[in-house]
Symmetry: C2
Subunit: 336 residues, 2 copies
């Protein structure tokens, strides 16, 4: 391994001069700098981030804690989010340590990643509704940003949340159905242990109330964001005597499952039943019929979150900059 010492010997200077050149300090004579750069090149020297990190107590790396249970991660929504995160990290020279969480098994110890000095901060995606570990992070002053987890760490002002406007988006979806004349509107809910699922259910109920439409329990069926759960939920809805004429599914995959169930018994979408999803994954425009859905700005959310986190890390500040990103109703052909 080539160290600054080796470079220094080759260039006939002290290792401190090498360090200065590496770090672009301006108090190095141009001739000396050239000698050093030449030696660096000849020896193929690369600075050792461990040595550096140990000294300055920084790693220029963020950890990303992402749920890996397939029904969440496999959604293209997450790849877009990741792309956004990557974009900002690349711009600011930060690395990304990838920590998939499997909710099932014993969880990851959030603070460990920081305390071990693996990362300078954490990006936490879709944590549980009440995540006590976030409180630990706050107490220990560990920088972190939460995506898709509004409120998971309580209302502490020091927590930065980046969320899509789930309530607004879901309200728009239900409102649209109401304005098209639907009165019997059902909801296939998402995984209710993350805020996305909970908020969309809340908005469904609330919008109905706003328009004086009674909320019927039999019209609310629990799903978990997977296509199969949407399929099963729809099967149940189809058994009802008073069948709904429209369904708002908490994500696109479940909407797709629902469409499958409807077609299977010979009914058609949207003629007999209208369907609205949430996410606007690429697949949404390929279903038959193409899906009316709520788009959330996944890339921007990732980018914003990384930006916030890295600014927090760099500035040492911990001021709140939570953001609710706008959603948009994309009307295609699954609604009537």
């Amino acid at each position: 391994m080539v160290s600054q010492m080796d470079v220094a010997k080759r260039a006939g200077v002290s290792f401190m001069t090498v360090s200065r050149v590496i770090n672009n300090k301006n108090n190095v004579k141009e001739a000396t700098r050239k000698k050093v750069l030449k030696a660096i090149k000849e020896l193929g020297y690369y600075p050792n981030v461990l040595g550096r990190g140990l000294n300055i107590n920084k790693t220029e790396t963020i950890g990303i804690l992402i749920p890996l249970c397939s029904h969440l991660f496999s959604t293209q929504y997450y790849t877009e989010l990741l792309r956004g995160v990557e974009q900002y990290c690349a711009e600011s020279g930060f690395g990304i340590l990838f920590y998939p969480r499997r909710e099932e098994s014993g969880d990851i110890d959030y603070q460990r990643l920081f305390q071990e000095r693996r990362v300078d901060g954490l990006l936490i995606i879709a944590p549980p509704l009440k995540d006590l570990q976030l409180l630990t992070l706050i107490k220990k002053k560990i920088p972190f940003v939460v995506i898709d987890g509004r409120g998971s760490g309580g209302k502490n002002k020091r927590v930065v949340y980046i969320d899509a406007d789930n309530i607004g988006g879901a309200s728009k979806a239900v409102e649209y159905l109401i304005k098209r004349g639907h009165k019997k509107i059902a909801h296939i809910s998402g995984w209710l242990y993350v805020v996305n699922g909970k908020d969309r259910l809340y908005a469904y109920k609330n919008t109905l109330k706003k328009y004086k439409i009674p909320v019927k329990n039999e019209y609310i069926v629990k799903g978990d964001f997977t296509e199969i759960s949407g399929y099963n939920a729809m099967k149940n809805l189809l058994k009802l005597k008073d069948r709904p004429t429209a369904v708002f599914a908490a994500n696109d995959l479940m909407a797709i499952g629902a469409i499958k169930a409807i077609k299977e018994i010979g009914l058609s979408v949207p003629e007999e039943i209208s369907i609205v999803g949430f996410d606007d994954i690429p697949l949404a425009s390929y279903t038959i019929p193409p899906l009316t859905t709520v788009r959330q700005p996944a890339f921007q959310m990732g980018y914003e979150a990384a930006k916030n986190l890295i600014e927090m890390i760099k500035s040492q500040r911990t001021e709140t900059k939570s953001k609710i990103m706008k959603t948009a109703l994309i009307v295609r052909n699954s609604t009537n």
Copy 2:
């Protein structure tokens, strides 16, 4: 920051004893160990991986270099692959440093990640056909494993490649079409600058030859793995006087684009034109009609690759264990 020294003071021992406890050395008296563990707990001590890594020259982290151009990364194939990688890393206690490559911009310097001691080895996904950087890694004895890049680093026995059997899988697909009576079979090729695309094209040509069916240039249209490229390619095929009766697309997304183009001019799949894809992404079973395709074991590939890499790192050996993973033809309803 709490260090071994702090723990040592609290427990009334030397920091070396603390180190021994951390590393589960057996030459520590049980009573002493308990004292130390108690102090560790009370102080909330976590070992600093930078200090440790600097000393033992290991990081227990692998770097994953993955193409982020959306047409490759957004495929669910890659999420599955990542899940496999994660699985083995979790089992062996390794971290994953995530390095998306954007082929467009100036590339990542592969060796840098290792030389800077960020990682102990590299997992390189879908490199270019001839990747000179891989030769550097070989020369510098940096552990790495290539996924979806058979041959990118030359035929050096020291390179470990984990690939799906692209040639076998594509051959099965084309053979199936031939056995169903098709003679006019076209191919929508993938991105030909990665081995997956190239091999599938090769297998297409080769299988036709094997069955004495002439290879017609006009039946081969270049795509780049995106849905839109499949759509456009199919448009061109549909303009031919002697239209093909079957199309083998180099991946599912392009197959889906092709189906869209076919439907648009009022023809039907599979009655008038049969389509076969490659990958078997989840979406494949939702298209209308559900797609006949070639399944590759993405999860296992990721798992195997990580296993190979980490074993190389741990054993210091660099023996070749390249693997070609089996593929399977999944017959659904897009073929006739």
